[in-house]
Amino acid sequence: MKKDIFKIGNKILQSRLIVGTGKYKNFTETAQAIKASGADMVTVAVRRVNILDKKKPILTDFLDPKKIKYLPNTAGCFNTEEALRTLRLAREMGGWKMVKLEVLGDKKTLYPDMVETLKATKILVKEGFKVLVYCSDDPLLAKELEYLGASAIMPLASPIGSGLGIQNKMNLSFIIKNSKVPIIVDAGIGTASDATIAMEMGCDGVLVNSAIAKSKNPVLMATSFKNAVISGRQSFTAGRMQKLFYADASSPSKGLI
């Protein structure tokens, strides 16, 4: 069997589960959960350094960017300019070219502003960034992102942090079928089975943060997600049985006493 390789741009990832580093109780828990998840890429945010409290622990002390790949995001950005500014600073910090673009359009739903997202993608690709794009689950807009040079398309399952799972399987399956670049379900995954379903549908990867960080036992939940993503991928690769409309006995009727 051909080796199952997960590649975004030129980067080969060992795990199809990408995890966020936000919302944890503390950095120790963050580091433990991420280790348990088996992820080799994590999303991070860019924010002001706290200049008044120099002794406060920082993320990089717990997660070594040399050992685990940082994927800087633009969380909290509501237009192209803010997103570009954030990612250019991220690149300056350590040469990060692979980034997660998310341009939000609405504070309540955190739904992506796709007009700004398309605009920002175009500029970032031109500047040499490898852009993983958080987007709506619109099949045509997803294709447009691919045309613009996005390295991966990351449609939401449901609103960020909602844990509502995949709300529009039909749209997601259209996106998967039409795409030549990896599809990573981002946002809204609530529990392990959501991730398995996404993977069984043929997604290339899953990005999870809240479902792990906000669970009662984040380290255990991270392990659960690791298994769920592997399981879903194996199931997809194996190819599920055909659905039948009638029963088909599993035990042979020949030799029945």
Partner: protein
């Protein structure tokens, strides 16, 4: 115009990460980062909206009314 002694001593009034700050000595970006014990490998610096390349910290001087942003990575999804 009344100029107080204090104002003469203060070389530059700057804004650092949104906080107002008064610098008494002439200062390079490198010195400023040193003062705040910043590990230059873990941060990025923006001066008046433009990124300062790490190799230019020593040759970049902080002037009156400069707006400086120092950022780093934090947990996020």
């Amino acid at each position: 115009m009344k100029v107080s002694v204090l104002n003469i001593l203060i070389m530059a009034k700057i804004q650092l990460n949104g906080s107002k700050l008064e610098l008494k000595d002439k200062c390079s970006m490198f010195k400023l980062l040193q003062k705040y014990k910043m590990d230059s490998k873990k941060i990025a610096v923006e001066l008046n909206g433009k990124i300062v390349n790490r190799s230019k910290y020593k040759s970049t001087h902080v002037k009156d009314k400069d707006k400086i942003e120092i950022v780093h990575f934090i947990g996020g999804g």
